[in-house]
């Protein structure tokens, strides 16, 4: 069997159909450029929305509680403490704590500039704050890798808008490595503002409250503080597996029974954490779906175009095919001819498309917050187009191979 590919005659034939070839090459190039960039955006968004929070998402519920009537800071602190006692006693509840935000998709984020010296110019790292008590680790399911948890008597009431200056903090491993790259962070002193805080513990992993951050997404600081905000608190509670629904049903009633002068909004006051997280990433998910749809449609359109054009060429060359067959070309030769032709055209398109993809990425980078295109998208996109091209030509090429040699002798 002859395995030499008929490249030279194909190139001659393509020169003959210069405009049609140019069009399909252009189309493949545009497709490659758009698909690479769209898939890159999909990958960015999927990576963003699938970042691990580090908490036991499936079993955590969030209750937003506001107090009716005016209470002082200390009084509100006591009210929150007794609410938490009620929640912790509910059947099915593992533990509970209060904060003014929650991980990954929280409504608020307190940005911290962490310094290693009190009068430092320029911060050592950004981080975000959780104001918690000694129950946060068990509630969220966080793993302490070093040091200790807070003690109950460390927790201070702080009125919202006052500076938080805790004597002790717990930080994530990632932040610890950033602050003290070659040593244990436990026992070290950091400055959240002007007052010193001692790191008493390091937890393995916890995402910060804000969705948007990328550079310090896992640099969380836990402070033993009960923050008294006029907007109320979020009670975070963890249920035993499978019992979250029942717990969230019972919790508002139990809280109202203990103290009716409160507002837990009927519409959105009690939520599963997993639902909040799902909604919080709706934007990323939407973009990912939309871009994937564009890619699929684009590849289908390109495949359709290649089927159409190869069918046309096959029907146009029936005579020539017949002559080649009459002169001894096998069916395989004819099949191989069209498959090779398509491979060459797609290859030209890919060569142009790679340059276009990079140019498009540079344009997108100028107008949108997008990083540089990872280059491995180019060979992946190229491979996809080669495969699609081969599949798209297969039908027409098989029809060409089926042309009987007798066609050569017949007039049109």
């Amino acid at each position: 069997m002859r395995m030499t590919l008929p490249i030279r005659p194909i190139l001659a034939a393509l020169r003959h159909h210069r405009s049609a070839t140019t069009l399909i090459v252009l189309q493949i190039a545009l497709t490659l450029a758009i698909v690479c960039n769209a898939l890159f955006i999909v990958q960015q968004r999927v990576a963003h929305l699938s970042r691990p929070t580090g908490i036991d998402e499936a079993n955590i519920g969030v209750i937003h509680n506001e107090w009716l009537g005016e209470h002082g800071t200390v009084e509100t602190g006591a009210l929150i403490a007794s609410d938490l006692a009620v929640l912790r006693k509910l059947p099915g509840v593992v533990d509970a704590y209060a904060d003014n935000t929650y991980p990954a998709v929280g409504p608020w984020a307190e940005l911290l500039s962490i310094n290693l010296k009190p009068d430092q110019h320029g911060h050592t790292s950004y981080a975000e704050l959780y104001t918690v008590d000694d129950h946060a680790l068990t509630t969220l399911g966080l793993k302490l890798v070093e040091g200790r948890n807070f003690h109950a008597n460390e927790v201070l009431d702080v009125a919202g808008y006052d500076s938080v200056a805790p004597a002790s903090v717990i930080i994530t491993q990632e932040l610890a490595e950033k602050l003290f790259p070659h040593a244990s962070a436990v026992g070290k002193v950091v400055y959240l503002g002007s007052a010193p805080s001692t790191i008493v513990g390091v937890i393995r992993h916890l995402q910060v409250p804000a969705t948007g951050t990328n550079t310090f997404a896992f640099r969380s600081v836990l402070a033993p503080v009960r923050l008294i905000m006029p907007s109320g608190s979020f009670y975070m509670l963890r249920a035993r597996p499978g019992q979250l629904g029942a717990v969230l049903q019972a919790a508002p009633a139990a809280l109202r029974a203990a103290n009716p002068a409160r507002l837990i909004d009927a519409d959105g006051g009690v939520r599963r954490y997993s639902d909040l997280r799902f909604e919080g990433y709706a934007r990323d998910r939407g973009v990912a779906i939309l871009m994937s749809m564009i890619c699929v449609v684009l590849l289908l359109a390109t495949a359709g175009g290649m089927v159409g054009l190869s069918s046309f060429w096959v029907s146009q060359r029936r005579r020539q095919i017949g002559i080649r067959r009459a002169l001894g070309a096998t069916r395989g030769d004819i099949l191989r001819y069209f498959q090779t032709e398509n491979f060459l055209i797609v290859s030209f398109g890919i060569a142009l498309g790679m340059a276009l993809a990079i140019a498009l990425n540079l344009q997108l980078m100028r107008h949108y917050e997008l990083p540089r295109l990872s280059l491995y998208y180019l060979p992946i996109g190229a491979l996809a187009l080669w495969i699609i091209g081969q599949i798209a030509t297969l039908g027409p090429a098989l029809r060409a191979a089926a042309v009987p040699p007798v066609v050569a002798t017949r007039s049109v």
Partner: protein, 440 residues
Amino acid sequence: MLYYYLALGLRSLRRNPALNILMILLIAVGMASSMVTFAALRAVSGDPMPGKSARLFVPQLDNRAPADRATEGESPGPLSYIDAVALLDAQRAYRQAAMYPVSLPLVPGDATRAPFTVTGYAVSADFFPMFDVPFDHGGSWSTLDDQRGGSAVVISRKLSQRLFGSVNSIGLSLQLGGHGYRVAGVTGDWNPQPHFYAGGDINDASYRGDPPDVYLPFRRAIDLQVATAGDDDCAPGYNSSDWNVRLRSECDWITMWVELHSAAQGSTYRRFLEGYAAEQQRDGRWPWPPDVRLRDMTEWLVHVRAVPEEARLSFALAVGLQVVCLVNVVGLLLAKFMRRRGEIGVRRALGASRQAIYAQFLTEGAMIGLAGGALGVLATAAGVFEIGGVFQPKIARLVHVDASLLGLTMLVSVAATLLAALYPTWRAAQVQPAWQLKSQ
């Protein structure tokens, strides 16, 4: 003659249906994707105050040391209470309104009903005429009320109906955040998108959707120490929970809007702001040279990035998709027309002019464009209907199909297909009759 070309076109469409269906599908898919994303972009990038936006301005004063600024060289969004009140009292604009978002528990008078959270804004009285807020009943509180801190409140039609049913609620009282208010006005249909007046970075779905429930008098909200529900950004060292200390602090949480008689007066107002800022610097409040900004609404919407990035990005890529589809159609039309060289040769030989060939093949192209457009209209309508699966619900609700969108779909389909047909038609018109007849 056109009728003849239409008849020829129809016959040709029937001749190779697979190729034609492919082209029609390509046009429809390309159209639908760019039109659906265009509808989304149109929904999120409209002018919220048409006819007035050039006269509405947001003054910004930098009260932050250059080193503490969020972005280098960029002034903070909102104003401090000190500056907001100074600008309100100066009365240098035609209208001026200070505002900040609030979220408060509302306890219904009927004790059997559960309390619920209402959201809205603390605003000065100029807010309503400045933003053309219509009233179902009553109206705004007076400017006098504004200064004295009266207990009037304006509520939305929806909240009025929720609380008081269908009765006219003017003069009725309600309990908001533990304080009594008297309804002075009920707003009618008013919901410009996005909620541009919210201040801060509004590149988020939460600044779209339902209109505010309540509007409290700014002065009264300050007197009652109603905290902002939005961002409150303090210069280092100014954090304090003491309300009166806060009012004197370099904390930025109040958005100002001013309405001028004309866009041209912007420079006059800017000079006033620069004068005020320079005065504050002389008084020793800021050791650094003042950074003053006065943005009109269009500039403000760009500054706060009101148009979600994904809307523009998806439109850009959808247009790319359409270009690919069109290039595809050019190729297929070329194939289709060139296949009929023989027919063209015969027609030319029988006396048809080049022009006649142009007319015939462009008519055929337009017919494919029409068919593609019709299918594209259906696909666009379906796409907009299903857009909730891709865009956030609050944004998806704003996206709608109307006659202009569908008309545009049709128009662009035909125009684009004609454009795509130009080159293949030109090639068809170049066919040499003698050559074709000889090779038959």
